[in-house]
Symmetry: C2
Subunit: 184 residues, 2 copies
């Protein structure tokens, strides 16, 4: 039986990212799961207008997107729990910089993108930052034959329903391939 | 050591959805992973302009978003392999309708949203449909204490690097909670 839950967003789980910014001259990180792919090399990061990070992003027009691995769950959750307006989060992670001077990235994160903001969608309660990666850095240890290997990245996912973090499971099929087994 | 991969999108894996439309009077489905959450109840669906589905979405200003479970992988991949302009995909899944007459949903999918299109972002090669769910339907079997239980939904994820589908793993931590264990 189908149950109608009403007009609710049921697009979960989503990958967790840590967004790096410089706000008031200080490095800051926040945990965001309301992300998206806009086109091949354009991403969206949706952040409640109440967040401290937004100010730095608007001033600098840059941010970083870091994919934490599951063993970073305590720190990843922590930077989503406390505001940079009250707590200095600049030392939670060891940071590094690439080309953009206000897009700090996380050394321990297996994958990091330093991004330029190309547009901002002004929603009633959210700033949606439309960004393009300028450079994407990854640990050599998470590559297999030159490509990012998600079994090594060990990303985590956010579940709004049960308020849980989930691990990635196993790869089980090839894209644009297994569908050929479909017989009408 | 960090390796710079250049300006590439590394926001994977992303959840797979099946987008339902009516095009030229016929039900159609396509597999899309370039999705996003814009604000709490607003979603983005990015679709290459070459796709047949886009025409129906633009005409009707409606679409559905269905989350397939991992046991639907063959059909899910199939509807991403072949174009509705050439193949009739209306019978790949058994469909049902809610309030919106041009947003067919998939009976076998554990979670389906019938959505209204509120805006379209015109990217060089993609139409990005900004949508709001009108109603969200789910199988009673995937609920635990009235909430969607992802261990029962068994969603799947798309990996652009290795062209693989991945399963969801286990829940391993509580959100807005485990971060309290962080001690500076």
């Amino acid at each position: 039986m189908k149950k109608n839950l009403g007009p609710v967003n049921a697009l979960y789980p989503m990958p967790i990212v840590l967004v790096g910014t410089v706000v008031d001259g200080k490095i800051n990180y926040i945990n965001i799961a309301h992300v998206g792919i806009i086109d091949m090399n354009t991403l969206s990061i949706s952040m409640g207008k109440v967040h401290y990070s937004n100010k730095g992003i608007k001033e600098n027009k840059t941010l970083s997107i870091n994919l934490p691995s599951e063993d970073m769950v305590v720190e990843a959750d922590y930077v989503g729990l406390v505001s940079g307006a009250k707590e200095d989060k600049s030392q939670v992670f060891e940071s590094f910089f690439g080309e953009l001077k206000n897009a700090p990235m996380i050394k321990n994160a297996p994958v990091s993108m330093e991004c330029e903001v190309i547009d901002i969608l002004n929603m009633p309660n959210h700033d949606v930052f439309i960004v393009k990666p300028k450079n994407t850095y990854c640990d050599e240890e998470v590559l297999t034959e030159g490509r990012i290997d998600l079994s090594k990245v060990k990303p985590m996912f956010f579940d709004m329903y049960q308020k849980k973090y989930w691990k990635l499971g196993e790869a089980f099929a090839k894209c644009w391939s297994i569908g050929r087994d479909f017989v009408k």
